[in-house]
């Protein structure tokens, strides 16, 4: 099994380098000199010339990429044009915020999504199933910003229960996490249902029934454990969608996380910051996928016992 993971990580490395390469190349072919962005127009030509040299802007792109890669490996993503602080510091500051938001949202999505998926599968093709699945599709179809704005309007403005924005107290965490979790819950519910229905088709379900087990025992004891295995894989996929969703959520609620950082970077045309946060976020997803794989193999005896 150790060999399997070694291989898994070995595959992840080139993917990550590819991600860094694509990001770097795209952001560095952009017209518009970073120095103009930093200094506006009021700079003397020789100052620009000097800066170009110190920033190695005249080197070939591939050399600059390798330099970026080397620096990134040492935890150096450069200096933010706008904020004049190391990008790494900014990310390290924003990272826990995003993790807190995304993990709370993930837990909310499981609490809502998994039971709905199970009930729908057990009551397949009944009114309950159709209602729940309609509800889930509703969740999937709703743009995150619409849920966010509806939440702000109802709970902050009309009812006054929760603050509009910020991220200092738990009260400020509630709404963004619910907004992000709601969006994910639909996907989780749909996938739990389809996995459970798939598991219910297995021969061992018939064996369990033939033993004289009650229907709930059949579902909970035999089908569910098998169908929750793929849900682990889904959770890995969820990391990516939660990160995408947190870009929107953070910008609506003014939460200082990675998503907000990257939106600020775009709006301020702050290339190193955007580059750093995108590469970092993608690395996080790849790492999350490896973790999910490990967890999967720990839970599934077919892999574990080999």
């Amino acid at each position: 099994m150790a060999k399997y993971f070694f291989k898994r990580i070995l595959i992840a490395v080139p993917v990550l380098i590819g991600v860094a390469f694509i990001t770097f190349m795209m952001l560095n072919v952009v017209p518009g000199d970073p120095i103009t962005v930093m200094m506006r127009e009021h700079v003397k030509p020789d100052v620009i010339e000097n800066l170009r040299k110190t920033m190695h802007l005249d080197d070939p792109a591939i050399i600059r990429f390798l330099r970026f890669l080397g620096d990134a490996l040492r935890g150096n993503f450069g200096i933010s044009y706008k904020l004049s602080r190391p990008v790494t510091d900014l990310i390290v500051q924003a990272f826990p915020v995003t993790i807190k938001l995304a993990s709370t949202a993930a837990i909310i999505s499981w609490i809502i999504g998994i039971p709905i998926g199970i009930i729908s599968a057990i009551r397949q093709s009944t009114i309950i199933d159709q209602m729940f699945m309609g509800f889930a599709l509703f969740g999937v179809s709703m743009p995150v910003f619409l849920i966010g704005l509806l939440g702000q309007y109802t709970f902050s403005y009309k009812l006054g229960w929760l603050p509009v924005s910020g991220f200092e107290s738990w009260k400020q965490l509630v709404m963004p996490a619910l907004v992000l979790g709601w969006n994910s819950a639909g996907t989780i519910a749909r996938l739990t249902r389809s996995n459970l229905l798939e598991a219910m088709k297995n021969d061992y379900i018939r064996t369990a029934r033939a033993k004289g087990l009650k229907e709930t025992g059949v579902v909970v004891g035999h089908a569910l454990k098998n169908s929750l295995l793929p849900v682990i894989t889904i959770m890995a996929i969820q990391i990516a969608s939660l990160l995408s969703g947190s870009v929107i959520t953070e910008s609506i609620f003014g939460i200082p996380g990675i998503g907000r950082l990257s939106v600020d970077a775009i709006q301020g045309r702050d290339m190193p910051l955007l580059q750093g946060s995108v590469v970092f976020a993608t690395a996080l997803i790849i790492f999350g996928n490896i973790c999910a794989d490990m967890l999967y193999s720990l839970v599934d005896p077919r892999i574990r016992v080999e």
């Binding site: 021969d203 061992y204 018939r206 064996t207 033939a210 033993k211 004289g212 004891g221 035999h222 077919r302």
Partner: protein
Amino acid sequence: MSEMSNEQFLLKINNIKTHFFTKRGIVPAVDGVTIEIPYGKIIGIVGESGCGKSVTSLSVLGLLQRPGKTVEGSIEFNGRNLLQLNKAQMRKLRGNEISMIFQEPMTSLNPVYTVGKQVSEAITIHENISKEEAKSKVIEIFKNVGIPEAEKRFNAYPHQLSGGLRQRVMIGMAMSCSPKLLIADEPTTALDVTIEAQILHLMRELRDKNHTSIMMITHNLGVVAEICDYVYVMYAGKVMEQTDINELFEKPCHPYTEGLMRSIPRIHSKNTRLYSIKGVVPNLLKLPKGCRFSPRCDKATKKCFTQEPELYKIDNNHSVRCFLYENGVR
């Protein structure tokens, strides 16, 4: 067989009809089948896939899922009509008095639990005993069904066992509560020939020891010859011929049974080409008029295409659904 009195039968399936209510129409998968199983005997049910043999067995256990439903007839088990029992009463019987083993021992066992746990579960559902007692009982059962190193195998997962051992586990699970009736649905089809012989031997041994009746569902006449006392041949939802085992091989009467016999490969046969019955199993939604075997039958007459034959008795223990035997004898 029908000469015997009622008390000799453990199970009497009486003219049942099991239909599937699909979007395209009603599929009469079992269309008026009567099967009687005496105490301590092994009864074979033979036919091609789709003839309704598996559906008949699932009807007995009440394991049919929507859209299937037994709409007519009665299933008398030990004097009770199973079709009138409620869900809880049915569950008490299942795995306890009637148990079943299936064709594919790999997929019939849950891959995420140890085999020991799965067999213990079958016991603890019906008997109020502790975990430790169940465990020692399971190990005892494993020894009885010939699983070597039973203690060690208790903690094995299904994928760690060979096909033969898995089927032994399934049989052990089925026998764990000493059922009166064991339904075996193609129990050896997925196994090697040598393993098949061992498993059949084991089943016969269990029958002799516990006096369990066995309903053996198979398409393999070799298995029938090996183990069965009496045989029902089914085709497209109906019993075509029923006879005891010797008569079946000596004097098969129905053209369909004859066809099945001729399609068995034989070492000493002069014919190099293997016989196969022409045509395919009919679509149950569009059954032919008259005898349902008529389109594939070599001996079909005009009558066969217009009228449905009944089951004609030609001997004490032998009935045939064919107009050739309308007057009793050949």
